[in-house]
């Protein structure tokens, strides 16, 4: 795990130092050579690359990625302040994914020949073919601009729920969160349906399912008690991966809906060559993924006692 993070930090550092010289975007156009030198020195850009990397690594361990060139605040603090907003849509999208993805997937896998299953599968292929930014635009235009059912963009009122400040606590917040979450969940639902279905098809052929059916267990119990339990392992793995995918796609969703999360922060930072934010974001996300993978591993042992860590 630590090796992974080291490798990531290494790549992130070297790639971001190639991005382009931030000095020119920070200074007015007619800055003198002296001023340029001064800024270069202040940022430590005059030192050899490997020294810069070691300094970067030492500071990163302390959680210090430098100040944002455009927001003039510590980069990591900015990311933390934007993280809850991102987490909100990710969580809501995740719940949608679980509910619809598993239900439809189990159904399509259990009755592969039925018409509804074929419809579900057709829709899921359509789902993975949709560009999420386009879905977002279509939803905004028809539901918000034309029909006025939902607000066009932004996060809405932030209320407080159990001491946590979140827009999930207010009705206005919910109205704002629905569209971004649907956009975000869309593709994932399609993927989950396909994977759950594949697992289900495999499981339904096993002997113990046939036995349970022969024994007279109701078909609902066969599906949800016997079959579903056994496809949980691959499903949990996929959720781990999908969670990462969702976080990656928030960059797009947040850009479209002007949602003030960390994805939008990243895109803005990229456009402004704001190096500290880009590297802080990437390392933060890397740590997040490592944690997610770890949690998934632990979940394995809880679901399936045969798995040993």
């Amino acid at each position: 795990m630590i090796i992974v993070l080291l490798v990531v930090s290494f790549i992130v550092f070297f790639m971001t130092s190639v991005i382009g010289n931030p000095v020119h975007t920070m200074l007015p156009e007619r800055a003198s050579q002296e001023q340029v030198d001064q800024v270069v020195k202040m940022l430590g850009l005059d030192k050899p690359l490997h020294v810069q990397y070691l300094i970067f690594l030492r500071n990163a361990l302390k959680g210090d990625f430098g100040r944002s060139y455009t927001h003039f605040q510590p980069a990591l603090k900015l990311i933390f302040s934007r993280f809850p907003a991102t987490l909100e849509i990710v969580v809501v999208a995740m719940i949608m994914t679980i509910v619809f993805g598993i239900t439809f997937g189990v159904y399509a896998g259990a009755y592969p020949r039925s018409r509804i299953s074929k419809g579900i599968m057709g829709l899921s292929i359509a789902g993975i073919s949709l560009p999420s930014f386009w879905v977002g635009m279509v939803l905004i235009f028809f539901l918000s601009v034309r029909l006025g059912w939902f607000p066009v963009s932004g996060r809405g009122t932030v209320g407080s729920l159990l001491g946590i400040r979140t827009s999930l606590a207010t009705l206005d917040g919910w109205r704002h969160i629905i569209l971004p979450s649907i956009t975000l969940a869309g593709i994932n639902v399609a993927t989950i349906i396909r994977l759950v279905r594949a697992g289900m098809l495999e499981t339904m052929r096993q002997d113990y399912i046939k036995f349970a059916k022969a024994k007279g267990v109701s078909s609902r119990d066969v599906l949800f008690k016997h079959a579903l339990k056994n496809i949980l392992i691959p499903v949990v793995t996929i959720f781990g991966l999908q969670l990462g995918e969702l976080i990656a796609f928030t960059t797009i969703t947040e850009t479209i809906y002007a949602w003030p999360g960390m994805g939008k922060l990243l895109i803005d930072a990229i456009n402004n060559l704001d190096r500290p934010i880009v590297s802080a974001y990437l390392l933060f996300v890397a740590v997040l993924f490592v944690v997610i993978n770890f949690v998934v591993d632990i979940l394995y042992t809880m679901i399936d006692p045969r798995v040993d860590l």
Partner: protein, 307 residues
């Protein structure tokens, strides 16, 4: 008489390669499957439109001389105020949306196909080496692949394009760097199973060189999986490129792809010009949907284990 006829039929069904293909089970299943036929027609028409489209478009959307500001903000033809000449309407500069879509699809399809080609080449070579060589080299390569796969490819693409800067070549490089992993994993897996077969042992005993064994005996065995994967990858590469371009990190402004047309249209969406961004996106869906449907059919057909 009868004898002659029989001979003729026997002769005519002599296995020319094309003939064998038309009588294969694969082709039979293809004809019998409506989704396969429809999806291949979708793909074919998209490719043909991209190839020959510029000959039929009413306007060259990128020659400024052809643009007329008085044509701006025209809605699609079937809505009041639209003109038949601009079937899908025009944008704020009087650019015909349909022409822009056709020109844009050329770049999008090019990136999809060429990107997959490079990703597949890299992945196949790396996978073959890893699977055939084994040992330390294999574990290092597969470890890298694992780490890369634990990060969403969209995020990697974003990051790479940030550092590379926008250009068609850079998008292709980024897609290659994202795509090789899946090929390498599949090819390595198949290589490992093929490697243990007797005929490979036999070739070794005869004294064939490693390279010859890899290319003559191992590679043909992994090709079906590669074909299936490639079909799906073309679709997902087109989507990734579209998304990158939408975020302003893909192709340069002078070569707009479908994704970039959407992004341009997004700017005027709130003022009610929905068609500027709607139709380019719809065309992406059309292309990628066709490709994915076909990929699904191929996977069911060529990969008997999944049947």
């Amino acid at each position: 008489m009868f004898q002659q006829k029989l001979e003729e039929t026997v002769l005519s069904s002599k296995p020319s390669k094309l003939n064998r293909f038309f009588h294969s089970e694969f082709f039979y299943n293809y004809r019998k499957s409506p989704t396969a036929v429809i999806s291949s027609i979708m793909i074919l028409s998209a490719v043909l439109i991209a190839l020959f489209g510029p000959m039929i478009t009413p306007q060259d959307p990128y020659s400024l001389a052809g643009l007329n500001l008085s044509d701006a903000y025209k809605p699609p033809a079937w809505i009041e105020g639209g003109e038949a000449k601009f079937f899908f309407g025009t944008d704020q500069q009087g650019r015909d949306i349909m022409s822009a879509i056709i020109y844009g699809s050329r770049v999008s399809l090019y990136i999809g196909f060429v990107g997959v080609f490079f990703a597949a080449m890299t992945g196949i070579v790396v996978g073959l080496i890893a699977g055939y060589a084994g040992g330390r080299l294999e574990s290092i390569i597969m470890r890298i692949a694992d780490i890369q796969l634990s990060f969403p490819s969209m995020l990697i693409a974003l990051f790479l394009m940030t550092t590379f800067g926008r250009s068609v070549t850079n998008v292709l490089i980024a897609l290659t760097l994202i795509g090789w992993v899946r090929y390498a994993r599949i090819v390595r897996g198949e290589t490992l199973t093929v490697k243990k077969k007797e005929y490979i042992e036999a070739s070794k005993v005869i004294g064939f060189s490693n390279i010859k064994i890899i290319f003559q005996h191992v590679l043909p065995n992994v090709l079906t999986s590669v074909i299936v994967l490639s079909t799906i990858q073309v679709g997902s590469f087109i989507l990734i490129e579209a998304t990158l371009s939408f975020l302003g990190l893909g192709v340069p402004v002078i070569r707009p792809t479908l994704g970039m047309l959407c992004s341009d249209g997004f700017a005027v969406l709130y003022s009610g010009l929905w068609w500027v961004s709607f139709f380019p996106g719809l065309y992406i869906v059309f292309i990628v949907f066709g490709i994915n449907l076909f990929g699904d059919f191929l996977r069911d057909e060529l990969n008997p284990r999944l049947k």
